[in-house]
């Protein structure tokens, strides 16, 4: 048996207090397509970065082609024949395709001289090999996203890589481009290279992969063959999903209050091309927490951005309290009683160099200061009230947002929107990167708000949170609502399966 191309044993990696990888083992044989599967945040990206040398693991060993490599750097990993194709192509957009390929593959000649003829030839040959219909002299900025991805793949092929990593390569590809890609993957396999293939589309894994390794919470759960020697499928979709989510849902969530009021928000056939969401039909009642589940990129944040007027809808109708309305910008959304606690709190949720009180009062300027004249006393009172009510831990209400921990920043962001006394509260990943204590406090606050008659939409990639908090769960997949489940009876299995399963 030929030696393994790659072998990772017991790899651990932490970022501050967050343990991203807690002992992952993985191997790749020559001529194998090995799929890597896991929920959002299971540790796939971190693992890939360990293999490409972008992250140095805290412990564990890394063997490449039979030899232990202790200090891997991105340059070293390329020399060892590892090539990675990311979701977002990293090409120079003002250079031509052949220049990009040349920059990746060519060694410097004497005096940095470029052999343009040779460069052109190489590019033509590589593009032909993957069957891409792209002219080498085209500027990358003129290419579509999938075409750029094909150029990336050409680079990987041209480098003669023995280990090719593909991170959700089909996310932006059309059907025919997917077929091209699958051809390339099979081609690589026959030539004896190994492919690590990451995808959320289970059907692709069944079509391409020889083996699957499932990651969960930073650990490798198991590695299984997709087909038996006789060519029969050994795994089912159900089994894979169970392996991905298989854990207990902690029962630390506050009890659900079942007093649901009238419909606050009703969406009919909402579509938005910029946000890539289509035909959204959804309603939320007063006192209800609607969980919005789905994979990263399924369109959940995009839906929130439509409701908050950041990228207004192209078509469809929004009814709030039974009145049809158009939300054109955030300013208007605030006036209508829609609040959005954004996902990226450091960029959008809190203005870090400004004090807590000023952050909290930002969305209520016109209510608090009707003549646009600042009243510092009223502002401080408002700040103190929320610092107290939400238990924000800070040296003083005048402490800068940037001096707070993640959980407390999140509470400031939440406070800003509670101060507007909204009818509809949209929370985007409200507990991402928040420590456990603050997390359960935020959950309690959300529950209290619902009990007071707010309609709450909670976007979350944290399955236990979705299951523990939601009265109903809307699962999104590829820009649409795939399924709406009852919160009390839904299971991790049923949510994941709705998020993943091919239609």
């Amino acid at each position: 048996m030929p030696p393994l191309l790659l072998r990772l044993s017991d790899i651990k990696k932490s970022f501050g207090a967050v343990k991203a990888l807690k002992g992952v083992s993985f191997e790749l044989r020559p001529g194998e397509v090995h799929a890597l599967l896991g929920e959002n945040g299971a540790g796939k990206s971190t693992l890939i970065k360990v293999i490409t040398g972008a992250h140095i693991p805290d412990s564990g060993t890394l063997e490449i082609s039979g030899g232990i490599v202790s200090h891997l750097t991105p340059t070293r990993s390329q020399e060892l024949g590892i090539s990675c194709i990311y979701q977002q192509p990293a090409l120079f957009s003002d250079l031509s395709v052949s220049e990009n390929i040349g920059l990746r593959l060519e060694k410097n000649g004497p005096f940095g001289k470029v052999n343009w003829k040779q460069r052109h030839k190489t590019a033509v040959a590589l593009l032909q090999r993957i069957g891409a219909n792209i002219r080498p002299e085209t500027h990358v900025s003129e290419l579509s996203m999938p075409e750029q991805q094909l150029v990336e793949i050409a680079c990987a092929l041209g480098s003669g890589a023995k280990i090719v990593i593909m991170d959700e390569p089909t996310a932006s590809l059309t059907r025919s481009e997917q077929e091209l890609l699958f051809g390339v993957v099979r081609d690589l396999r026959t030539s004896g290279a190994g492919v690590i293939y990451i995808s959320h589309r289970l059907e692709e894994i069944f079509a391409l992969a020889d083996r699957v390794t499932v990651l969960r919470d930073g650990e490798s759960v198991c590695t299984r063959s997709v087909r038996s020697a006789a060519g029969k499928n050994e795994l089912s979709e159900d089994e894979l999903i169970r392996l991905m989510v298989g854990r207990d849902v902690a029962s630390i969530y506050p009890p659900r209050e079942s007093a649901r009021g009238e419909v606050i928000l009703e969406l009919q056939n909402i579509s938005c091309a910029a946000g890539r969401i289509r035909d959204i039909n959804l309603s939320v009642r007063a006192g209800e927490v609607l969980g919005l589940a789905g994979l990263v990129g399924a369109g959940r944040t995009e839906l929130a951005r439509v409701l908050f007027g950041i990228t207004p809808a192209d078509s469809g109708s929004i009814h709030l309290d039974g009145r049809e309305l158009v939300v054109r910008n955030p300013r208007q959304a605030v006036c209508l009683g829609i609040a959005y606690v954004p996902e990226d709190r450091r960029r959008h949720g809190v203005i870090l160099p400004m004090p807590i009180t000023e952050n909290i009062s930002m969305a209520v300027h016109s209510k608090l200061f009707p003549a646009q004249w600042l009243n510092f006393q009223r502002e401080r009172d408002l700040g103190k009230r929320f610092v107290h009510a939400l238990g924000i831990k800070a040296s003083s209400p005048d402490a800068l947002g940037g001096s707070l921990s993640g959980g407390n920043q999140q509470k400031v962001s939440l406070a800003r929107w509670l101060a507007t006394e909204p009818r509809l509260l949209i929370l985007d990943e409200p507990t991402q990167g928040v420590d456990v204590g603050a997390k359960s406090e935020i959950h309690r606050i959300i529950r209290d708000l619902a009990a007071k008659g707010l309609a709450v939409i909670m976007i979350s990639s944290d399955l236990p949170e979705i299951l523990g908090m939601s009265d109903r769960i809307a699962v999104m997949r590829e820009g649409r609502i795939a399924e709406i489940l009852d919160g009390a009876s839904a299971s991790a299995q049923s949510v994941m399966s709705a998020a993943l399963r091919s239609a």
């Binding site: 207090a17 910008n329 959008h348 160099p353 930002m362 004249w373 993640g406």
Partner: protein
């Protein structure tokens, strides 16, 4: 607690305070060396000569606070001066309505900048670099590069000469403008939004504030202020010329930055800006009165040289101060105490895996 607070009180490192020291040093030095520096005549003189730049500087401050810049103010002053000449001399309009029309022209020019910057989302540096040439070019086209409008109403000329309650008129106009900008920046939601926009336009938008409308306002104000400055300029020199305000935009930016406003936006105070204006105004007046011994043979250009040096020192002093404080901290036994606070901070902001 950051390391430097232990050795030097933070207040002393504030740029406003440092600058106040600089102004006092300047005044002290010139009182001892310069001829007639401390006379009331000279003080009026300083005010009269720096009122126009001072007004532009005040108006520049909120622009820079939003993270923008307006390089067109000096040229706009030239354009407005010429417009005032045209309106009074060629259109034979009486002085008060002509002045009002001039202010309107300034406002419209400012609105033009604002429109390009907010509606078309072009970078302020590029837009106002364009209008910098455009406004001056218009002024020169109207006057054919040579024409100067002279002979204005004596009432209007008086604006540049007379005193009111012991101070030149310009002092009162400048003081009102300073009060206006102070209140705007520090006491209204407008000023608050300027700062927020300077820190993070996207974050401000997510807070439901209409960033475009709020960003437009400071450019309207620089427009109207440039027009006002052009009227003072015309009254002081008794003539309206296309080269009014030549190079003033850079003086204004220098004074604002010297006054502690970050060129990237977000931080800064109007009182700091006032100190910045004063430091430059006193310096350029005093240098002209110092005997040749002190000028080291550089002559009249010394004011510009010192202004530049002052700016660079003011910008680097806090950084050097911090650096020294850190070095001092390393040498002392406080190093151990500093360590946990650093690692705590690192834990608070983990680089999360995607």
């Amino acid at each position: 607690m950051s390391p430097q607070t232990r050795f030097i009180p933070k207040q002393l490192l504030r740029q406003e305070f440092l600058l106040l020291m600089v102004v006092l040093l300047e005044v002290g030095f010139f009182l001892c060396t310069a001829k007639n520096f401390g006379t009331s005549d000279n003080i009026s003189n300083i005010i009269r000569h720096s009122a126009e730049i001072g007004l532009l500087t005040l108006a520049m401050m909120p622009v820079i606070l939003t993270g923008g810049i307006d390089l067109s103010v000096g040229s706009l002053m030239g354009f407005c001066a010429v417009m005032f000449g045209v309106i009074t001399h060629d259109w034979h309009v009486a002085t008060p309505p002509a002045a009002a029309l001039t202010l309107l022209a300034g406002l419209l020019a400012g609105a033009f900048n604002a429109l390009l910057i907010t509606a078309l989302r072009l970078p302020p540096l590029i837009v106002t670099l364009g209008t910098y040439s455009l406004f001056r070019g218009l002024a020169e086209a109207i006057t054919q590069g040579t024409k100067t409008y002279r002979s204005f109403d004596s009432d209007f000329i008086n604006l540049g000469e007379i005193h009111w309650v012991g101070m030149p008129i310009q002092a009162w106009i400048f003081a009102s403008a300073a009060l206006f900008f102070y209140l705007l920046v520090h006491r209204t939601t407008f000023g608050r939004s300027f700062r927020a926009i300077g820190f993070s336009p996207e974050g401000t938008r997510y807070a439901g504030i209409s960033v475009q409308k709020r960003t437009a306002l400071p450019y309207l104000l620089t427009g109207i202020t440039a027009a006002l400055a052009s009227l003072l300029f015309t009254a002081r020199l008794h003539q309206a010329r296309a080269d009014a305000g030549m190079g003033y935009e850079l003086y204004a930016v220098t004074a604002v930055v010297l006054g502690g406003t970050s060129i990237f936006g977000g931080t800064g105070t109007v009182h700091g800006t006032l100190a910045g204006i004063t430091a430059i105004a006193v310096l350029s007046n005093g240098i002209g009165r110092v005997p040749a011994v002190f000028k080291a043979g550089v002559g009249g250009e010394l004011a510009a040289l010192l202004t530049g040096a002052l700016l660079l020192i003011a910008l680097t002093a806090p950084g050097i101060g911090n650096h020294l404080a850190k070095m001092f901290a390393k040498d002392s036994t406080n190093l151990e105490k500093l360590k946990p606070s650093v690692s705590q901070h690192a834990q608070k902001t983990p680089i999360l895996p995607s």
